[in-house]
Amino acid sequence: MRYSGFRVIKEALTGHKGWTPAWRDASPQADYDYVIIGGGGHGLAAAYYLAAQFGGKRIAVLEKGWIGGGNVGRNTTIIRSNYMLDGNEPFYEFSLKLWEGLEQELNYNAMVSQRGILNLVHSDAQRDGARRRGNAMILNGSDAELLDTEGVRKLYPFLNFDNARFPIKGGLLHRRGGTVRHDAVAWGYARGADQLGVDIIQNCEVTGFRIENGKVKGVETSRGYIGAKKVASSVAGSSSRVMSLAGLRLPIESHVLQAFVSEGLKPTIPGVITFGAGHFYCSQSDKGGLVFGGDIDGYNSYAQRGNLPVVEDVVESGVALIPALGRVRLLRGWGGIMDMSMDGTPFIDRTPIDGLYFNGGWCYGGFKATPAAGWCLAHLLATDTPHETATAYRLDRFRTGHIVDEKGQGAQPNLH
């Protein structure tokens, strides 16, 4: 079924009896050409692009729970292409371009809103850093504008400009960044993939791999054995657990990242703001809630909930930047599990096991990467070579020395 304004009017006049489910609830077949583990944004996007762009057939997406129930539904919905390093920025720019055409491509309203992201700077050194990063972004086809204090004041007059410790010296404005309705991304890709014949199999947990002579033959699941020519793992947060079933140890630690939503307010914050003196970022959802977050808790966790010291830290940073937040009530907070890699950069690569592919290590940047990660994983599955924008995301880069450490923190996953 194609969605359109006419369709909405027609259904409204006929009692909404004509809507059909957006995707089939498929049961697993005995074998497939491609099995993608993980029905999150990345897995569904990979299945969609594999079928739509690379002519893939007989594709299944296996999801332990329900699609859209993992990290694609637990993030702060921000999209951006404002990285600096050569290994990263072309990839995120490719992703942002895919976001820009996503709704037309999928015929699905994902509420892509390019409302702009402002990274504030509070010192001369930070301004130099922002200028350098902005230049790198522009060289890679992205957009960046360096604002001075007055430029920032014009956009966001309610920020705390008089803070003696962290005066706002300006900011790097990335106008094409913004937010997307995150659940709609999962649903849109699921619907698009389903229409191209992809089997989306929910409530199907992978419990093991069948590997013979160094080549993957299929996966054991809670719904029986499924044979496959190629298997890809796209389960960020649980990558270490899934890949350990194939005997692999990864350069990844799992950490919990908390995010928060306030009560609904009238339109207050038109774009996305990031604090440069503490880890805090904030945007306003279309329902009116302020969506904000900060640092990971900093210790290994699979608990999907964090602890109070980080709540306090995030809220302190928020009130330091936007004093008006002091009057706002927090509605809810939640935690999501992140694959924190050793250099803060993800992996889209083959593994030492023939026919087994890996997409993970997204730290807390996985959501914005969804379209490009899906595309690049599909490219890798179809052609066995990395996509031109994802050549740096190799699993063996720590051995070869080609690390991509955007923050320069070294092998300390809880600092990335």
Binding site: S238, S240, R249, L250, P251, E253, A303, M342, R399, N414
Partner: protein
């Protein structure tokens, strides 16, 4: 989380900074033939278990001792706390 420090008693985890897997105590022998491989695995690869995890915490806002904390990564429950010094000596290190 409350970490029951072996010398100081129960302390708030916010007083500590986290390093990671307690396997980091076992620094490989740099003179061994396979040192490059061993240091790669030591530095970059992790078991990252869901369940009991032995990990290093540093009491930065306290007595500045290193602890080996056994904690469940699924529930955050802490079941054992030892001085990293004792653990290292028991493993034959620190001579």
């Amino acid at each position: 989380m409350i970490i029951n420090h072996p010398l100081l008693g129960p302390r708030d985890a916010a007083e500590f900074v986290y390093l990671g897997d307690a396997g980091l105590i076992d620094r490989p022998d740099w003179q061994a033939d396979d040192a490059a491989q061993a240091f790669h695995d030591y530095m970059y690869l992790r078991d990252n278990p869901a369940g009991l995890h032995r990990e290093l915490w540093f009491h930065e806002q306290g007595d500045r001792s290193w602890l080996v904390v056994t904690r469940n990564t699924v529930t955050h429950e802490i079941t054992n706390v030892e001085l990293a010094r004792d653990v290292a000596i028991a493993q034959g290190r620190g001579q």
